[in-house]
Symmetry: C2
Subunit: 340 residues, 2 copies
Amino acid sequence: MAVKVLINGYGSIGKRVADAVAKQDDMEVIGVTKTKPDFEAKLAVEKGYKLFAAIPERKGLFEEKGVEIEGTIFDVIEDADIVVDCAPGGIGKDNLENIYKKYKVKAILQGGEKAKFVEDSFNALWSYDRCYGKDYIRVVSCNTTGLCRTFYAVDSVTDIVKARVVLIRRGADPNDAKRGPINAIVPNPPTVPSHHGPDVVSVVPKFEGKILTSAVIVPTTLMHMHSLMIETTGTTRDAILDAIEKTPRVFTVSAEDGLNSTATIIEYARDLGRPRYDLWEIPIWEESVNVVDNEVFLMQAVHQESDVIPENIDCIRAMLQMEDDNMKSIEKTNKSLGIK
Amino acid sequence: MAVKVLINGYGSIGKRVADAVAKQDDMEVIGVTKTKPDFEAKLAVEKGYKLFAAIPERKGLFEEKGVEIEGTIFDVIEDADIVVDCAPGGIGKDNLENIYKKYKVKAILQGGEKAKFVEDSFNALWSYDRCYGKDYIRVVSCNTTGLCRTFYAVDSVTDIVKARVVLIRRGADPNDAKRGPINAIVPNPPTVPSHHGPDVVSVVPKFEGKILTSAVIVPTTLMHMHSLMIETTGTTRDAILDAIEKTPRVFTVSAEDGLNSTATIIEYARDLGRPRYDLWEIPIWEESVNVVDNEVFLMQAVHQESDVIPENIDCIRAMLQMEDDNMKSIEKTNKSLGIK
């Protein structure tokens, strides 16, 4: 029997999680919530999702706009086996305290929430077992997810001594006409190391003190990019390429093939026919993979809107104890989405 | 008596070099050249520079457009003590072989030319003495100049074991409406390490094998940015801040002061009343300066259009043996431009 999943917050992440859950044969979407009756709310209804007001006081707003809702979140939450919270960063923690714990329903928060508010931090490759059967878990951010996957590949063939990463972050998502920068590079945070290293450690405690990151924001909407420099105890370029090949949800792209920027990588995802051109996997530039003095160099991109989506699916399976082998869950999720 | 300087190519770099030379009491601009009679050519004449056609065959073009020229480069080159070549990258090498060597005139090429075509590579802090009295020298690129200055500061208080740098490069200059990217991050080169490390080594041979760089291009026009991670034999944050304070042409800026991006840094240069808002110095974010396990972290920006300008002035002094103390030349140049 399919487990019942409620998506609280049908925005950039929520709508993607809903569509991914709907594709699983062991899960069903029992509802999605919205705070306001905008185009996303209308499309949710058109798609056949049961829509609920995320904030009871705003129920009237939906009725005024003629957007059909089934009630409020409190009319559906007791039916849910798990809630995937996709509220904006910082709100998830409030929802956890005020709603999920009160209603004793398992909940997944997203990477915008801090590690300390939940029992553990999830990545399907690294912490599936630790999150197995747990009640309140956080799927780490898009950037941390991308780093965790690549470190998994490298860690599978050598030991990481110290990794240095510079994150070149997109300024805003494609649908966001409010944020910038339009013409500037912004050190963000201006302090170094940034919080991204510790966030990886929340998933992989053995990397404590070994991941040093800095980050800037640049005027682009399509993807983040990472430049990684990973000191190891010893490896070769071929071993790393082989490890990437064997690691789920990472793959190599070649600049020589025309995949020479985040723009052409997104064009590739569009040509693949991906829904919303989502690229759930982390593309790593083949040309950039190099080993000098046991140090692995590589550059990768991260589709900020979608790489965490399959992780949310696997996290549901772990928390509801639906599958005890993480690689089997990953394979099942990948197959459902069309990830090779 | 003032030395006679000819500027071959009155474009982004050339017009700035001309204005800087004009400010020196020991140098004079005997002419500037242009390949076409555009607005820059017209402004050069209005400013009082003697204009020459860089390509003799195009002399008629200037006459057609009513832009007054004094002749072609070959009418003035024999009067020059030195030529500062500011032609587009790759052309300088041809000019060196076809013109400067033939006319036996000393010449400075810019960073777009390769190190192997000249006798040595110039940075006022590192290689002034080596370039003293030489005939054909290259002032290294804006990015390499920025790195050389910061490494000088760090090297003045500790030994650099290995430095890793990620360069986040501006996509185009502000006046360039042809180039991009508009919405993408481009690994450029897609191979790692990039050529920027070896370019630093062309100035500082003792860093051979110690500078590992990667580079991306992003959609911005104002400045480049660098994230530096420099392993040392041991130092402190205070020592590094002190070294930055004492090193010419680098200074700290504070994000807390509002100088939190390349955009606000350029606004600062505009408010300072700098010509063309040029920022000849390298701003380093104070908040980013950190030392963890003897590794220095910092982030800096580079005004690609102008940081090499004072270097060209010092390079003239070195090549024409006008001043044998590099620090005195630097001080003289700085004073003339208004650099503190």
